[in-house]
């Protein structure tokens, strides 16, 4: 899958998985911080995103702290998915 297509897909998956009903996936900027500022996700969301990566892309991240280094923004997530996906 092309990187741009993967980014689009990931944004849609994030919105659906986290039930971000007020967010349009296309409005999420690739370098917008997921946590704190930007999308404003929190610690429960970070765990949920780790589960998303597992279910959709077959990636297992054991340590949530390691996960936070990957879950910075769409760019870092897609980068990690491309390198580590098993699905």
């Amino acid at each position: 899958m092309e990187t741009t297509e993967l980014k689009k897909q990931l944004k849609q998956q994030i919105v659906k998985f986290l039930n971000l009903t007020s967010v349009n996936p296309d409005d999420i900027k690739d370098d917008e911080p997921l946590f704190g500022e930007g999308l404003g996700l929190d610690s429960i969301d970070s765990i949920e995103l780790i589960v998303l990566l597992n279910r959709e892309y077959g990636i297992t991240i054991e340590d949530p702290k390691e996960g936070r280094k990957i879950l910075v923004d769409i760019n870092t997530m897609v980068d990690y998915i491309e390198k580590n996906r098993t699905k």
Partner: protein, 344 residues
């Protein structure tokens, strides 16, 4: 204890200037589903995570807390979290105890609502959730009266919420508490079958020891357990006498829900009230464990509007003046409550 303000989200248009004399909208597919308003006070980032019960509870509670710092947030619920619980159970099975999302689990704790109210209003005061089924709201009410006595002059947020979630309904259905249909031409009171139509509501109250501009006074409450019908009327008479009241001038708000196994309780209580008006509030809200909160809200609206909920009249003469109201409810015949209300 006085009710100074209130808000209700229920199967009727109670969130939007409800007229108590309006004809209640009937259940849809035998369910009294809530008519939810918009929720401008709930931040979108929080709303996305909320199940219906927490959403409704917040929707009813937040508008009351504008510029108010209650000394307690006291909530009641029986059904809270059941949907989230089963959704989490489904995850456990579907993913064979693998990697699971925690949100359902966190949401399944019944004190989510009370916790969220405290969180969104930055209120750090006493925060509690009572979950004792058909006595959950009654226990919460007693708790509120104690809190007000402990810290006079400061209001308390008291409320209840129960939702019609799928799994609760399924358990009720399997254990024979859901009414399947009405005989042709009969209303639910005439149905003479087991079970009831279930409903959902969130009813929130600002209560205090401040009589100014109050909607009503909660004069007394009594709760008890047990299936005996014998002794019901003497208990009710004693309850009224203890609080300087008699059955003569009371308006009866009955929790009769059309389940013919429970009808004897209600008819026995009604026998005390001769020609007095008997209103069946569950024709408006359906059956659920914290329904007496809806009854309390309805009483408050009746006093406020200086009108009675005529369409809910089962029998008796509708009084021309405000009178005391006695709410009686039994949950499945084993939990009972009496609440005596007075106009202010």
């Amino acid at each position: 204890m006085f009710v100074n303000a209130q808000y209700c989200i229920s199967a009727q248009q109670t969130a939007k200037g409800y007229d108590v004399t309006s004809l209640p909208e009937p259940p849809v597919n035998n369910h009294f589903l809530a008519k939810e308003p918009d929720y401008p006070l709930i931040p979108a980032s929080s709303l996305r995570r909320m199940g219906k019960l927490v959403r409704m509870g917040l929707g009813a509670g937040l508008p009351l807390l504008n510029n108010l710092t209650p000394s307690a947030i006291i909530m009641a619920t029986a059904n809270a979290g059941k949907d989230d619980c089963v959704n989490f159970l489904n995850q456990i099975i579907d993913y064979d105890e693998g990697m699971l999302t925690p949100l359902n689990f966190v949401q399944s704790t019944p004190n989510s609502l009370a916790g969220q109210i405290g969180l969104l209003t930055s209120n750090r005061a006493y925060n509690i959730t009572h979950v004792h089924l058909g006595h959950a709201f009654e226990n919460a009410l007693i708790d509120a009266t104690m809190r007000i006595a402990e810290i006079p002059g400061v209001p308390v947020l008291l409320g209840a919420a129960d939702d019609l979630n799928n799994y609760h309904e399924l358990y009720e259905l399997k254990s024979g508490w859901v009414k399947h249909s009405l005989p042709p031409g009969k209303n639910f009171l005439q149905s003479n079958t087991a079970g009831a139509f279930h409903g959902e509501a969130a009813a929130m109250f600002i209560v205090s020891d401040i009589p100014e501009n109050a909607l009503l006074q909660i004069k007394a409450i009594e709760i008890w357990d047990g299936k005996e019908i014998h002794g019901l009327t003497s208990r009710a008479k004693r309850f009224l006498e203890t609080h300087n009241s008699t059955p003569d001038n009371i308006v009866f708000f009955s929790g009769e829900n059309g389940d013919n196994r429970l009808t004897p309780y209600y008819e026995t209580m009604e026998s005390l009230f001769n020609k007095n008006a008997v209103f069946t509030y569950k024709a408006a809200c359906g059956e659920f464990p914290t329904s007496t909160a809806f009854a309390l809200w309805l009483a408050g609206e009746s006093y406020r509007q200086n009108k009675w909920p005529n369409p809910l009249l089962k029998k008796g003469n509708i009084p021309t003046n405000p009178e005391q109201i006695l709410i009686y409810n039994t949950y499945k015949g084993f939990q009972h409550s009496l609440i005596l209300l007075q106009p202010v």
